[in-house]
Symmetry: D2
């Protein structure tokens, strides 16, 4: 990638983070309803910290840190960099103010452009590689911005809307897509990417691996709200039989009765969205499921979750259409179209039954930046695809997202699989 | 009190709440570091809720609530009114925004003035009585505004200052006041106030009660930072002997080593204040002690805490000088002057050894407003006096403040007592 | 007390601890359902440890400890002696076995008798004083043996009976005693005991103090199960109005619906007792109330808890009849008789509204033994009287028992008071 | 299997459970140091409950349950059977007594023999199948008996020995076995067992599955105490770099410094064993590691954990020598012998890097008994092999044991793997 290209790319992504905040009130920037969410302001600062820590400090001669305390304040989890301000306390940082964080961003932006402009930098390759990583990293936080904010706004009984729907915007109306099974042959399949692939990918997608798959079938589309309602109505949340033991225990403790943002009132079924409380669309995909709920639903139906390799195998048989993020479409839409597998990338992340573990031959990089992915490879499950809040160009068939099976605040849904 | 007087009084107090916020950034209004603190914005809203709930809704015909959900959002602890938004979550209310809360205040202010202007209101007495209570209530929250904010700012490693000292302001320098014992005779003493006292008092100060006191002595001034330092240096936090059992357990669990806001660095002793980090003044009173620490210090010295009645008996023997709040003096100052008991009201609240229990003959009023004080009369200790963040005209010798002996975030210090 | 007398007294008390255990299975000796209860075996060992630690080790030349590790294992809370095995883990000490603990007791018994026989011991006074304290201490644990065991057996769904009622034993049947108020004049009253009283008393009963009392009335008997049932039936556990705030919060958290050992079934009201599950007697005193429940009941009735001084003042106006413990009567019996205040000592401990604080002029003794009472003088409430599981000769009008207002597992009931 | 054979097998296994208890004191039968351990008496009762619930109640006409409350008391986790007494409270069941539980066992034994003797039982196949499962189930609890008891005894500062070494017993002394890598080719490999295999296996070992393996190497023996010591000495517990994030967090919270039962004293390295505190043998395998510690050690060395399939592939290339349990050998022994892979089954369970998930095509059986394995297939890791406390004939190459990666109380160690 030429210097100009990456600079443009960098500035565009940085600008997107600001654009997403335009609809916020200053009071919203500090919201953090649970430790696993982060305030908008913190996302803005941490993504800057990432560039500062992994590019500017090691590679830009004479760079002076904006504030030495930021090193700890905005470090997420890089023990190799140093200590971290307690994750659960991020909402307590009223200072730096929003204005100060924006100024911090500007300082970092200017310095990064200066660094990228230096074609003869002795570590030019590292600079470009880390800049690309920083860009992808910021895109991940742009997605988290929406998931975290949705969760935090939901803690407020006023149920404030993040945004109003644009005047005149109407959801496109499609005929409901019937559920169908797509069958795939078994055999040896190559998943993942070689370590030296030209296009960007995260280290957890490599190396390319061979896996043996039995024949399987995947659903042509995601499970809908209407279908999931039938599970709820059938006592799905009251019957231990469908559930993994850890899931059942958690569901009892936290008194789960329905998906996270569903509200059932006398006048029907609603759900909380970034556009406020809205009626549930029975044809839209059910969203914000934990892995346990997804697994229980599949079990109730006599189906199962796909493995990450089944999903990838099937997805790679189909032409890849890059996702385009649309800030007026912050909810997953009903399925439409006529390709074999619908809603692969643009609706909800899809829980797989695969534990998030390293691919055979994987090794994490050295130094603090090696903590990016590798150390999380335990106790989480892989999700494939992408969601309506994923950023343009960010996902691909080999992408491995990962969350704990107890997590519900992501835009996570479910595509069924079964043996054939 | 004439209608004009109380209206003026009302508006002045309401204005003071806003004035205190002038030095805040918008981002600060939502800060809540622990459940026992409340965000500035919440104080602004809750004090308005109090007037709305106990005056406007029952007494002003045609009054329409600003927002029906506020009834729950800004209810602190009045079960008789209804449910309450979780105390620990108050920092999650980014909405209503600051501007919306200010608008809520204005609506309430206008309606209260309208109500006060109605000389022929059928419940005129109740209106005046509750308005006076609302005013005192708002003064209490004005004090909490400072204590809570100090605590919440302290959670930020940047240690932001709430305010800069006014340019040119210098603390007055007084000669250190030597500690001396003031002796008081024993005998029968009348404490508290009759139920029908003319001036305002809280219900917990009544009725007037007779208590028998043995002769006792009180210290002429509060314990200083320097004196308390000697306790720390002598291993006071490492020796169980001085401590009440519950205090010792807590101090171990929470690893107390010194008072809450003390910081010891290589370059000496500092403390966090509303003006930021500042050097500890050895002559200033030690502040932000829990009751356990106060008791342990006294025990270490062979002295003890006064009872609430000893304190009141001694204080009432001395002319009462009403406190004047000064927004440039948000730290307790060293003792100065030559009256027998210094620093009664203007430095730190003074822990007593008296459990907060009702006076003989006390009965809480009926209805939700009866929950104001009575239901808290267990497990807390009485503090007497007032502090540098108490509001002008708010305290008096009979005033009974109360906190758990574990609480450290108030401006709470210590005046020694002993038997004679 | 002559050497023979105290030796006899010592041996009799030591024997009583063993007699109480006769009805246990070996499996029962280790039961500990919560940290605040202790297993029978631990009581047997700890009371021996007390004699060993405070008498044998300091006063008996050549005494060799049974096992050096016992110093920590059986230390309850004496920091001055050293560390303590975690209280919540006492049920995990399967070793020493019961037989080993009995052997430990015998070794201690022999050594104590040897020490008491030495009339010319240089610290003869200390020896006698501490032996008397050890005896009283063991009596306290004999009472705790019953309260703790009742609680621990209750955790077993089999609801095992500690004992069968002796064949042929029938509860005496008395006519129900009508509730009446006994009035007492106010004035100056001397409570407590001088420090140098001849008969044994605990340090927390001294010194004698003068208190001023307003006129008051006490109920002639304790509140009965039947009377308390009316409170439950009236929604007493669902109405915040009667409750102290901390009590209400706790009652909600722990879902209190009735007293600890009450069970309501289709076939009527039962309660768990040391004789197993038995029908509730409406005329027997309600027992195993927390202080919060006692206070809420009184508040519901428009009455209140007595202060510890009111109770003592009234009790001292009446001839004191020492309590006689009866191992066939491990439940509080209905009131009977015709003295002014019934059930002072032999039914249930009676919650007072007095916080457990030192008497004016109190000072705890030095050394580890000074930790016996003084350090607990915070956050607890005073209970007066005695109970059906108190040991013969143990209680008296000045006795101050103390527990947290949240505690329910003692034989604690309620005598009403009111202003007159 | 002929009726006689299975009856003999049944009685032998039942007898083994009693034999293991011979060295216990009655006081030990109720020990439960943590919720994840169970008391010896509970194991004795629960294994009987298993036969009663899944064989006698459904299949033996006229069978009357010993005690209807046992259904809940001794139900471990079968929601399909009904409620369960709280797992953490099992130590509180002093009743039924040991004698009563032994009597319960005898009743069950007699009834099972009666059932097995009925050759013409209409559900003969089910009876035999469940009896075999009950036998295997009891063997699993025989192993847990040792692991749980070891943990519970360790909570006692007296560090009591479960057993004395037999007089004259000496550990055999072997020359230390040098660590060597055994290489295995990659390719398609069949793991697991067909559903209809003749010999007994658990449902989680089926169906047979095909997996593709890259070439790999396994260590010829387990990691030794001496080798693990080097990791500790190198600061292994202080360096985040080697650890999975969840493991590091847990290790910090619980202050792990060394394996669970290691004790380091001035006079050298000791470990707690079922024979009491003994010197650590540097050549014995390191044992009682969590999965996190095992993974961190491997990472520190630049190696890794094997996958469950690598382990099984290698193990199946070698003749299977069934394990013989020896009650005088309750510690893992140093490696000896000259087969390629030593210590496969007789020393420590070996952590694999494989998440415990169902094999492709797996489905749990119906009814309560279907809860045996399937519902636990999340969040745990597979361990392969067997240990010194596994019972004779119980394990095999396809056996899949599973525990949380945080668990340390099993006899769990580590065999290294690496890519080749």
């Amino acid at each position: 990638m030429a210097s100009d290209d990456i600079s443009r790319s960098f500035l565009r992504i940085r600008q997107q983070s600001l654009a997403a905040c335009e609809r916020l009130e200053i009071e919203d920037y500090g919201l953090q309803a649970e430790a696993f969410t982060s305030p908008p302001k913190w996302h803005l600062a941490h993504t800057s910290w990432f560039f500062e820590t992994f590019l500017l400090k090691p590679c830009l001669e004479g760079y002076e840190a904006c504030n030495p305390l930021y090193e700890e304040l905005f470090n997420s989890y890089y023990n190799g960099v140093g200590g971290q301000y307690a994750r659960s306390q991020r909402g307590l940082l009223s200072r730096p103010t929003v204005a100060e964080v924006l100024s911090y961003r500007q300082q970092v932006d200017r310095a990064i452009i200066e660094l990228l402009d230096d074609d003869s930098h002795p570590q030019r390759d590292t600079v470009l590689q880390r800049c690309r990583l920083g860009i992808q990293h910021e895109q991940q936080h742009q997605e988290l911005f929406y998931t975290d904010l949705k969760y935090s706004l939901f803690a407020n009984p006023l149920l404030p809307a993040f945004a109003e729907l644009s005047a005149g915007w109407r959801p496109p109306i499609f005929p409901a897509v019937e559920q169908q099974w797509r069958q795939y042959e078994g055999g040896l399949f190559e998943a993942g990417l070689p370590v030296d692939a030209v296009d960007f990918s995260f280290d957890n997608e490599s190396p390319a691996v061979r896996v043996y798959l039995e024949p399987f079938a995947l659903s042509n589309r995601l499970v809908t709200n209407g279908e999931y309602q039938a599970f709820v109505d059938d006592g799905g949340y009251k019957n231990h039989q469908h559930w993994l033991a850890d899931g059942w225990t958690l569901a009892q403790e936290e008194r789960w009765q329905r998906p996270l943002y569903w509200l059932d009132r006398d006048d029907g079924g609603w759900e909380f969205t970034l556009f406020g409380l809205r009626r549930r669309d029975p044809h839209a995909p059910v969203c914000h499921l934990s892995g346990y709920e997804a697994d229980a639903y599949a079990s109730w139906l006599g189906a199962r979750l796909p493995t990450e390799f089944e999903w990838e195998c099937a997805a790679r048989k189909q032409a890849f259409t890059p996702l385009v993020f649309d800030a007026d479409r912050l909810n997953p839409q009903p399925a439409s179209g006529d390709i074999p597998l619908l809603q692969l990338y643009d609706a909800c992340w899809q829980w797989t039954g695969s534990a998030y573990r390293p691919y055979p031959g994987f090794s994490a990089g050295g130094g603090a930046i090696g903590e990016y992915n590798g150390k999380f490879m335990a106790n989480q499950w892989v999700l494939k695809g992408g969601s309506c809040v994923s950023q343009s160009g960010h996902v691909r068939p080999t992408y491995r997202n990962f969350f704990y099976p107890s997590d519900r605040w992501q835009f996570s849904g479910l595509r069924l699989a079964r043996d054939v």
